[in-house]
Structure formats: C-alpha cells, structure tokens
C-alpha cells in the first residue's frame, strides 16, 4: 500500500484539546501575564516585578532565569514565548546604564507585539513597608486614573488602555459588594505615572450607600515613562474588533409566558387595503369631479 502523506493531526485527545485551546475563540479566556527577568535585572526591578506578580495572583508565569533579550531591539523571542505559553501580556525587568531600573509593560495580539512601554522606577515602596492588612487574593480591583495627560495625550491614552488590560483581571457579570476591596490608582503628572494601591473600608453613612475610606497597602511606585513602541491606529483598531455574533439580535414577536410555553404573534390586525399606496399611474389619477366630491365630503364630516 502506498504511503499517504497525511495532514498532521493531533493523535491523542489531550493533544487535540491543547490545540483547540490555542485556537481563536469568540469569548476569550482572561489574558495571562509573563514576568520575564532580563539579563541585568537588579534587585529593585525584580522586587517591583514580583510585587506586581503578587498583586495579580493567582495566575501569571514568572520566568526567574535570566533572559538575554532587549525588547526594544528585538521582541521576537518574547513573541515566541507568548505563543508557546499562551500569554499575551508581559512585564520585562531590566536595568542598564542607559535605562536604569526599568519595567517594560507590553502586550501582543495574534502573537505579534501590539504595545510596549518602558517605565523606569524612580521610587518604590514595598508591600512589606506598609504595616496593614493586605487584600484577599484574586479580587477584581477598581481601577482609577487621574491627571489631564490621560485626557489630552494620545500616547497616555494608549498606556492607560494597556494598564487597564494588565490589571483588570477578567470580565465578570456578578460582583460581591463586600468584595470591592482593592483600588489601584494611576496618576499621570509631568511624564511620570504614580502607581498606588489602597484597601477599601466601607463605613456606615446613614444611608444605603456606604461611606468609603481608604488605606494604603502598597506597592507604591513612581514611574517615569521611557521608551515606547505603540501600535498604529489601524492595527490597534483591527485588534479591538469584536465578533458580531456574541450577542445575537433579540427575536421579535416571540415570548414565553409564566408557564414556560412559547408564544408567537403570527397575525397583526387587519390591514386597510384601500388606503394602501400602490404603483402610481396617470390613468389611475382621480378626475376633477372625483376630487371635488371628496373635498366636499371631508368638509361635511368636519362640520
């Protein structure tokens, strides 16, 4: 029997499931983040990165080995990791003479780099320095942005989008009101971004809505915006394209009653065929006498 060169298909059910998981889908899984240690990452950048990792726990892939990558020169390797690990967000820690203490925040779309921004750490206050109770793991945070730069500057707006993507966790439909515990605030002023974390304390206010008090929990980081590589408007727009079939159009004239039986409206009230506008023709035009008669009828009716 001649050998047939088949198109390679996964042999095992497990392999098939893995491949299926990597294929594009209408409703996506929450984005995973890779935390990559650069070749010359120092203690400060590593601490900062690890605390962000801790904030975003559970989930995340921490790469603790040194990686000889310069993302702004060649991002190919990071894209490769992104494809293999199925993680589209990354944070890269590095520190060198030209760009000291920097964390590179980035994301990919279709395993190609979309946006990347370098944030140099100017001041860092660790979680350990705040002698307060930390928030529970895995809570969806409230994300706040302040500063006119986020309104006026195009680049800042994109950075804001990247930060929301990075910290929003996952899309949820229900939320426990007592679970609204964590607040992340980004403030932009003079080319800097201040990252602050707070724990929410809900106090009685005498009404249904509680009074909010905050307590700082850390990490608190002052970033200076360094190099950036942002996607073109077209690419970003195409990356944001959402499937149309996620929420189908509501079906008209169909409802279910209290007993769960399906009811449909088939007929409307009888249509007045006489007043229906059909094709206009000169031959069908009313004569002068007819029109006069109609007018007089109308007059008498109104009287």
């Amino acid at each position: 029997m001649p050998f047939i060169q088949r198109v390679k298909r996964p042999v095992t059910a497990k392999g098939r499931r893995i491949l299926l998981k990597k294929q594009p889908r209408f409703v996506e899984f929450p984005k995973q983040t890779m935390y990559v240690r650069g070749k010359k990452a120092n203690a400060l950048t590593m601490d900062c990165m690890k605390e962000i990792y801790q904030l975003k726990k559970p989930g995340g892939l921490l790469f603790t080995k040194k990686h000889d990558i310069l993302p702004f020169e060649n991002v190919g390797l990071l894209e490769n990791y992104s494809q293999r690990r199925g993680a589209s967000l990354f944070i890269f820690a590095s520190s060198n003479k030209k760009h000291p203490h920097s964390l590179i925040f980035g994301r990919t779309h279709d395993h190609q780099l979309l946006d990347m921004v370098e944030l140099e750490i100017e001041a860092f206050k660790s979680i350990k320095e705040f002698k307060t109770e930390h928030v529970a793991v895995g809570l969806k945070p409230c994300i706040l942005f302040a500063g006119e730069d986020f309104q006026t500057s195009y680049d800042h707006k994109r950075i804001q989008n990247l930060l929301v993507d990075m910290f929003q966790r996952e899309v949820v439909t229900d939320i426990r009101l007592q679970g609204l515990e964590h607040v992340i605030m980004f403030t932009a002023a003079d080319d800097k971004i201040f990252l602050r974390n707070y724990r929410v304390q809900l106090k009685k206010s005498g009404s249904r809505i509680p009074r909010v008090e905050l307590e700082e929990i850390g990490p608190a980081v002052d970033f200076r915006i360094g190099r950036k590589k942002l996607a073109t408007e077209d690419l970003f727009k195409s990356a944001c394209k959402q499937p149309t079939s996620i929420d189908p159009k509501p079906k008209k004239n169909i409802r279910t009653d209290a007993f769960g039986s399906k009811l449909g409206r088939v007929h409307m009230t009888k249509q007045d065929v006489n007043s229906l506008q059909t094709r206009k023709m000169k031959g069908l035009k009313k004569s002068y006498a007819e029109r006069k008669e109609q007018r007089s009828k109308k007059k008498s009716a109104s009287k």
């Binding site: 047939i4 409230c142 706040l144 993507d165 229900d174 939320i175």
Partner: protein, 364 residues
C-alpha cells in the same frame, strides 16, 4: 404657652439629632468640577479634572489618597445603584457589559470554509450533516452468531472469519483473486477519501492542486476522462512532456486539461506598433554583437593574433642572427619587449628593436 415650649423642644431635638448624625456619618457625595468617566463593567473611573500640582509636589501621598478616596466613592456609588440580589447571605450586584474597548488576544475566528460536498448540499437543499441517530457500536452477526463491532478493533478479524469464500461472478476472469481485489478496492476508496479531504483543506487555504487524473477502478472511461488520460500520459515523461510530439487530440483539449506544472505561454501584444518595436529590438541586439563597421570582433582578434605571431617570428630570426655576430644586439633585443608589446604601429616595432641594438652598442 405650654404647647409652644413643647414644639420648640421637638425642633431643637431634631436639629441636634441631625447634627449628631452629621458628626457620626460623613457624606457619600463628592463634588467634582467635571464628572468622572466611568465604566462600571470594568470597574474603571477616569478623572478628567486637573490635578493640584502644588499639593502633588509638597504633600503627594495624602493628596493622592484623598483623590483616590473621592473617585472610589463616586465609582462605588454607581456600583451600589446597580440591581443586586442576595445569594447565600451575600449581596451580589449585576455588572453591565464593559464599554471600555480592549484589544483581543487573538483575532476573531473565521467561519470554517465549506467542503465541496457541503457546497453541493447547500446548492441542492440537502442536509449538510446526516442527522445523528443513536447507533449501536456492534451488530449481531447471524453467521458467526456473535456481536461484531461495526468498525475498529476486532472488526477486520470478524470479517475474515465470516468471508471464508467469495464467489467469482460470471463476467470476471475466473482466475482473479477476489480477496486481493476486494482489498485493493478498499484501499482505493480510502485513498480517494483522503485525497478529497486534502483537497478540501487545500481549497480552504487557497492552494492550487493539480487534477486528480483518471480513477483506476472504473471499468469504462467517459470521453472527458479519456481526454484527460491522453494529456496525463503525454506529460508523464521525465521532461513533463516538453519534448513530446503533439497528439491530434491536443486541438480539442479543454484548457483545464493542460498538464500540471507546465506554465502557460504568455501571448505577446499583437498591435503593429508594439510588434515593430520588438523586431527593432531584436535587430539592434544582433547588430550590437557584430561590432562596428560590419567586422566581427572575432575576426579582429584573429587578425591581431596573426600579426603578433609574425612579429614574434621576426624577432626570433633577428635574435638568431645576433648571436652569431654581435652579442650586444641580443641584449638589446631582450630589452626590446617594451616595444614589442605595443601593437600601435607595425613599422615602429622594427625600429625599436634596432634602437635596442644601438643602446647595447652605447653601453659597450
């Protein structure tokens, strides 16, 4: 009078209560010059108001904390307005869909391209998929008196057991091995199915695939199949049919029946002007190779070589003469080559040789 006192008391008490309440509870309202841009679905609030740069410089932490508190209060006020329900002693709010647009991780999946059968079924109004009925994996075999799997493990074994003999039909050569024939037919069916599957994949990926050729199983070929067989046999040579003489059927062959892998010949433009230009180009090309003055380069080279040979012969002659008489002349002859290399004028060369001789004389 008494009633008056009483009313004053009540009013006083009420005022005091309100004041106490005010002291006890801080307000939940926040004043902002510009309202926040919020997206409750993502729990996101963007404050468009200007920052107090002086406060930010001198009293950063407190200022940021206060700002965060106000903004959080405004965001949570909106969350508390959402419809909520009690689930297991916990109040849960229903979040709306996020409005803030974020890029997707992967592009939106494209619909799977239809196979050739599916296209046909759609056109004809046939069901795209056979309606699935619950089918047993095994069937009762009357001959073997046991349950036999429909396919897979132990199916082939049972088939062998059952079919110990196959009748040879009248229209078939009695010496044929019916078992081998059956096996070959099955192999052919499997291959055909696999080919069709691959072709569907290729079509989906927009890759051109050569024609299938002629099926080997069918006993009698249809006219178009015969035509195709003729073309296929023509192209089935080491040179893919390039040096094959044309067959008479060529004229009638359809365009799709062209042998695969042979590129289509591009037709040249036929307008008179374009044709003239092409012809002129060819002429110019020919003329360029001929060289100037109607004499070919090859001929010129031959002439030069001949002259050189002559000069050399002359030189050798003079040298032999020199050796016999004046030795200096020989020396001069050796110095001469500078002149000998120069092909400029034939007349000068002889003179130069002589010069060399003179020089030699001078040295002596």
């Amino acid at each position: 009078m008494i009633t008056d006192f009483r009313t004053i008391d009540i009013v006083d008490k009420a005022f005091k209560e309100v004041a106490a309440k005010k002291e006890k509870f801080k307000p939940t309202t926040v004043f902002k010059l510009l309202p926040l841009e919020t997206d409750v679905g993502t729990l996101l609030a963007v404050d468009p108001n200007d920052l107090n740069s002086e406060e930010l410089r001198n009293n950063r932490e407190d200022y940021l904390k206060e700002l965060a508190r106000d903004n959080t209060q405004l965001l949570l006020n909106e969350v508390w307005e959402l419809p909520s329900e009690r689930v297991d002693d916990v109040i849960v709010a229903k979040l709306p869909k996020p409005k803030y647009l974020l890029p997707r991780e992967l592009p939106v999946p494209k619909p799977k391209p239809l196979t050739k059968y599916q296209q046909y079924a759609l056109k004809k109004g046939l069901p795209l998929k056979k309606t699935k009925k619950h089918k047993m994996n095994v069937t009762w075999d009357e001959i073997l008196k046991k349950w036999v799997p429909n396919y897979g493990y132990k199916h082939a074994q049972a088939e062998k057991e059952r079919e110990t003999v196959i009748e040879v039909p009248d229209n078939v050569d009695p010496m044929t091995d019916m078992f081998a024939k059956k096996e070959a037919e099955k192999r052919e069916r499997v291959s055909k199915n696999e080919f069709q599957r691959l072709r569907n994949i290729a079509r989906a990926a927009n890759i051109k695939v050569p024609h299938v050729g002629v099926p080997a199983v069918e006993s009698r070929l249809k006219p178009d199949q015969l035509e195709l067989a003729a073309v296929a046999s023509k192209s089935a040579t080491a040179s893919a049919g390039v040096f094959q003489p044309s067959i008479s059927a060529d004229k009638t062959l359809k365009s799709w029946a062209k042998p695969p892998g042979v590129p289509k010949q591009k037709l040249k433009p036929v307008s008179g002007r374009a044709e003239k230009e092409i012809n002129l180009n060819i002429l110019e090309d020919v003329m360029r190779h001929r060289g100037s003055g109607g004499v070919s380069e090859k001929a010129v080279n031959r002439q030069i070589a001949q002259e050189q040979r002559q000069v050399h012969a002359e030189k050798m002659k003079s040298r032999k003469k020199g050796r016999g008489g004046r030795t200096g002349g020989g020396k001069g002859g050796k110095k001469g080559p500078k002149g000998g290399k120069d092909f400029g004028g034939k007349g000068v060369k002889a003179g130069k040789v002589g010069k060399g001789g003179k020089k030699g004389k001078g040295k002596r």
